[in-house]
């Protein structure tokens, strides 16, 4: 990361203050809906998250990845939520019969305070997941993602930001609702809270009846070369069939690419329905086109391919019970060199109250 002149840092602080001032102004002018909760409905702090264990056989290397991703949710009053997510994961690999070597990593994905100002606006401050596309914010948890391998373009949209964000969702008619997130992040060079100085926004529109969501993202770096990044996302769950279609496109100075994924749950198959309704087939196609600049490989969990690449993926998920999923997948990397990647493992989602949870 390049050094930033002191004057630039000062200007960024001014911008952040302006932004924060405007957010406070926005919050103060909107009416707050009255509280509707009874004691039995009052939110309780929760420790939730997911844990998993995956094995990947990738181009002659066997990798074992145990993961634990706890999420802490602390509601305060009727309008506040403090939430945090940490990520602990190991990467132990062995090639050609050698002993396994590796280490355990830890990340702080987010630590944020959310203030639900009104029906249209939630203000977030702290460290938050960068709202770019849908994968980073919504699909990343291992119990949610349909394929354990993240998309090739994921490093373009991944990461966290440190600053303030305004977001919300509201109906624009009886058949559609709009969602938005706009944010400012300040430069942080601390290893745990690492973030760039960026400004960005994401908007999406969801059509209720056909269950289609389309949206776009934009991010502007306010440092270094002041690059822009753009993204498009699409999701469709056709109501009559248990099919989930999703797609994303992202473009940055490092390159561009897309992925299209379909996941089909066999719940409509009548033969062996007890088994079939827990089974899901997944297919994904993705391509990446290398750009003018190379993203420095800083030893992080994810990195972009070093050249033009395409990769078809196929997967099979079996939902053993609520929150417990076994999965297996195959991918064929087609780039400068070609190889197969096999992954299999198990993911578990947990949730426990940190206080009296109320009866049903």
């Amino acid at each position: 990361m390049q050094r930033i002149p002191q004057s630039e840092v000062g200007r960024a602080s001014h911008l952040a203050l302006h932004f924060l001032g405007c957010v406070v102004f926005v919050v103060s002018i909107f009416p707050v809906a009255p509280a509707q909760t009874t004691d039995n409905e009052r939110p309780v702090p929760i420790l939730t998250g997911n844990a998993g264990y995956f094995t990947t056989y990738d181009n002659g290397t066997n990798e074992l990845v145990p993961e634990a991703i706890p999420v802490l949710l602390v509601p305060l009053g009727d309008k506040w939520l403090v939430e945090a997510r940490a990520e602990f994961y190991g990467g132990f690999d062995s090639s050609k019969g050698q002993p396994y070597t590796g280490e355990v990593h830890k990340d702080l994905d987010y630590l944020q305070a959310d203030y639900i100002a009104n029906r249209y606006l939630t203000v977030t401050a702290g460290r938050f997941l960068t709202p770019f596309g849908i994968y980073n914010e919504r699909l990343y948890p291992i119990w949610i993602r349909d394929l354990n391998q993240v998309p090739l373009i994921f490093p373009i949209e991944s990461g966290s930001s440190d600053g303030v964000m305004a977001r919300g969702g509201f109906p624009v008619s009886s058949w559609a609702s709009l969602n938005y997130a706009t944010y400012f992040s300040t430069l942080t060079t601390n290893a745990t809270l690492d973030a760039g100085r960026v400004f960005g926004t994401r908007t999406g529109i969801f059509f209720n009846r056909p269950r289609i969501e389309i949206g776009s993202s934009w991010r502007k770096e306010l440092m270094d070369e002041r690059h822009n990044a753009y993204g498009l996302h699409f999701a469709w769950q056709p109501p009559p069939i248990p099919l989930n279609l999703r797609a994303e496109y992202a473009r940055s100075e490092y390159g561009s690419g897309y992925w299209i994924e379909g996941a089909y749950r066999l719940s409509q198959v009548s033969v062996l329905n007890q088994v079939m309704r827990r089974t899901e087939f997944v297919g994904r196609m993705q391509q990446y086109f290398s750009g003018a600049e190379k993203l420095a490989d800083e030893g992080g969990k994810y990195s972009l391919p070093h050249g033009d690449t395409q990769q078809p993926d196929f997967g099979l998920n079996y939902y053993l019970k609520d929150g417990l999923k076994a999965s297996a997948s195959y991918a064929r990397w087609l780039g400068k060199h070609n190889w197969n990647t096999w992954t299999y493992g198990i993911a578990w989602r947990f949730a426990m109250p940190l206080g009296r949870a109320g009866g049903q």
Binding site: L15, H18, F19, C22, V26, I29, F30, P31, A33, P34, Q36, T37, N40, E41, R42, P43, V44, P45, L73, P75, L81, E83, D114, I116, N118, R119, Y120, L121, E137, R138, L139, W143, I144, R167, G168, G169, F170, P171, S177, N179, Y180, T182, F184, F199, T201, F206, L222, Q237, N244, R265, Y319, D322, G323, A351, G355, R356, A357, G358, G359, Q360
Partner: protein, 98 residues
């Protein structure tokens, strides 16, 4: 300086849009309106289930129901994370706690 103006202008446009889309009278939350207008709780549950499938099902398989106070926290978290609307949040909470 130009950038500051651009950001401020953007925020002001957002404020204006939100103001224009805001409630036209002193109504309560969406759920209050729905509860008062919908006497049939079965209908509300049905609507809640529909909203649950439309919003939550976009990303993950339907989880089992949690205890009401846990559900209230989870729904608040999802309101922020998935930017679901206030009305949807209340209906989903109703459905998931019945």
């Amino acid at each position: 300086m130009k950038r500051q103006f651009a950001i401020l202008a953007g925020i002001l446009i957002l404020v204006t849009a939100l103001w224009a889309a805001g409630p036209k009278n002193n109504e309560g939350s969406a759920s209050t309106v729905i509860v008062s207008n919908t006497h049939d709780s079965a209908e509300m549950r049905l609507e809640g289930e529909k909203r649950f499938r439309a919003n939550c099902g976009r990303c993950h398989a339907a989880p089992h129901k949690f205890q009401p106070r846990m559900m209230a926290t989870i729904v608040r978290h999802m309101r922020v994370r998935a930017t679901i609307t206030d009305e949807d949040m209340h209906l989903v909470l109703y459905y998931m706690t019945q």
